[in-house]
Symmetry: C2
Subunit: 339 residues, 2 copies
DNA sequence: CTGAAAGCGCTTACAG
DNA sequence: CTGAAAGCGCTTACAG
């Protein structure tokens, strides 16, 4: 626990016999530094093991070099992937990435309110699956914090997400083509103010697909799974308790799909003969049960968001970006014609 | 993009007609502040929407109020849980949590080297499943950065982890009691310098259990699964290709176990009749395939580590803590007597 | 209990 | 291309 004073820019300046200003410029790679000077400085810094104090740098520069990623479900698979993608590009670019769990509406309001005060303390914000109120969107937009939302999208804010409507249609069309007519839907949590949009859009896709096929949507077949494994299990149990259960189920996340599948198996159904199930995400474990699903790549989404932020920051711009994530139907062995 | 100057401590001081020093004390809850003064200050701060600039606070205080969690596999389930646990207690305590991906030995060396320079920039460090060299351990210990390792443990460094040896024995004993005599082991990656210890200890437990039961360890039954789903799949494929395959398999992570289980099913084996499998972790998806496993709680581990750090920081202490995580055998339906 | 002042370690105009 | 100096927004002895 030796309280060794950290080596400061001053130490480097002395060692290299230049001013601290020059050290600062040289080490940050600014171009108005003589080649020989830069070398001298870099050598001295390396010998002393100098690392700039980020707090001091942030304070002086008025830019924080940190971007925060706020997630509604910090330990969930999707969020973890996004964080991973963000962190990879940010650390590369010399930014810090700070995670913040924002669970529930009050936490969100509080978070947004403090974010607005984060001018010069946070350079960027990526919000994963967080549902904002219109006034919050406006407030965020009026800030110079580069914000990008993942999962949802709001007017005036950058976003990356799939076209959930057509993605869901892709899943349901697959089932339809197989010959299914009674198709259950396990949606997210329509009453969860945090995460409605994704759920809403995928349900829209489900309904569009059925309608186009001339099938009327049966409300009995729609159940909420809260984006959780247990929710998926409960929903499937309810579906199977119907007097006329569906022959196939589309769950809008793999975790719900896997929960649902498990319950069906437990109740003695054969999959896919007695029950087809398709999920959404292509969770890495999905393949271990041969789950048919819609693949998306949250790591790439996170990286995408981070890259925009870094770019905009570098160019001192504040552009509005939107990216539609690619999505793909992966047919495995939980889907087959009804029998 | 209005460039509104943030409200500073100065603004609050003026509004409350006190000095900035008093504002600083009042808002941080120091006790040498008159009750009425504190109220006045708090009111002014609230009205102005004041939030202290962390960079300035860190610089002035010489303490960073940030702790970093370094993880070898940032997007993996285990790490995500730990990060979640850490973040929850830290945000509560007013600390920032910063994640850092440290994949591979060079990244680790670099990370540790820079961590040593992080004196006063980082208050605490939690390292998840990162294997350190002895000199790195020494260096870290000589620092006043509160460090706790999760998964591994080193002399002089705080750690939280299960007793992996007896935990593994628990799993294997279960199989033994069921009557299995040929039990395969899917271990981690013995040659991965990042994550050997966990793997090594669980293998030790496996060997102890067999030896105590009077069974000699058959090297053909030991395969490496790299802690990944694919690795688990490959390992099971190799096991099944044996002229005399095992009747049961213990995989030291659920992700490997689920991969292994999937391959067995695909090759037409019935589970558990033809093949028992037990995992390790109790991954939330494990129950969807009724996987028998050893349960541990990484969220709690992360919270535990964070709590120590916060406490030590608060008391200006630097204690050595160790916590043995509870572990529990969860018997589901992937294990049965051999037939 | 409160204030004036120094200082934390950088960056950035401003000169030269 | 380089340096001297101001300043970023706080905290913390030191007085009182």
């Amino acid at each position: 626990m030796a309280d060794i004073r950290s080596v400061t820019i001053e130490d480097v300046a002395v060692a290299a016999s230049v001013s601290v200003a020059t050290v600062s410029r040289a080490l940050r790679g600014l171009d108005n530094v003589a080649h020989s000077t830069r070398q001298k400085v870099e050598l001295a810094a390396a010998e002393l093991g100098y690392v700039a104090n980020p707090a001091a740098a942030k304070l002086a520069a008025g830019s924080s070099k940190t971007i925060v990623v706020a997630v509604s479900n910090i330990a969930g698979w999707f969020s973890a992937q996004v964080v991973g993608g963000v962190e990879a590009v940010l650390s590369e670019a010399g930014y810090d990435t700070q995670v913040m769990g924002v669970a529930g509406p009050e936490a969100r309001r509080h978070f947004v309110a403090s974010a607005l005060q984060m001018h010069r303390r946070v350079d960027g914000l990526v919000m994963v699956d967080i549902r904002l109120e219109p006034d919050e969107v406006d407030a965020l937009r009026d800030t110079d914090i580069r914000t990008v939302t993942i999962g949802n999208s709001y007017p005036g804010l950058s976003s990356v997400r799939p076209d959930d409507i057509s993605a869901a249609r892709l899943a349901v069309d697959h089932l339809l083509q197989l010959g299914h007519r009674r198709i259950g839907l396990i949606e997210g949590m329509p009453d969860d103010p945090m995460r409605t949009e994704v759920s809403w859009r995928r349900r829209e896709g489900y309904e569009q697909a059925l309608t186009r096929a001339g099938i009327v949507v049966d409300p009995d077949l729609l159940h909420t799974g809260n984006f959780s494994i247990e929710g998926g299990q409960d929903a499937m149990a309810r579906l199977l308790a119907l007097s006329k259960p569906p022959t196939a189920v589309f769950a809008i996340s793999d975790e719900m799909a896997m929960g649902a599948r498990g319950v069906a198996v437990e109740q003695g159904l054969r999959i896919p003969e007695d029950m087809s199930v398709v999920g959404f995400d292509d969770h890495p474990l999905a393949q271990t049960v041969a789950l048919t699903t819609i693949r998306q790549d949250p790591t790439a989404s996170g990286a995408h968001a981070a890259r925009w932020i870094v770019e905009d920051l570098r160019n001192d711009a504040c552009n509005l970006h939107t990216h539609e994530v690619d999505v793909e139907l992966v047919v495995r062995r939980t889907t087959a014609p009804p029998c």
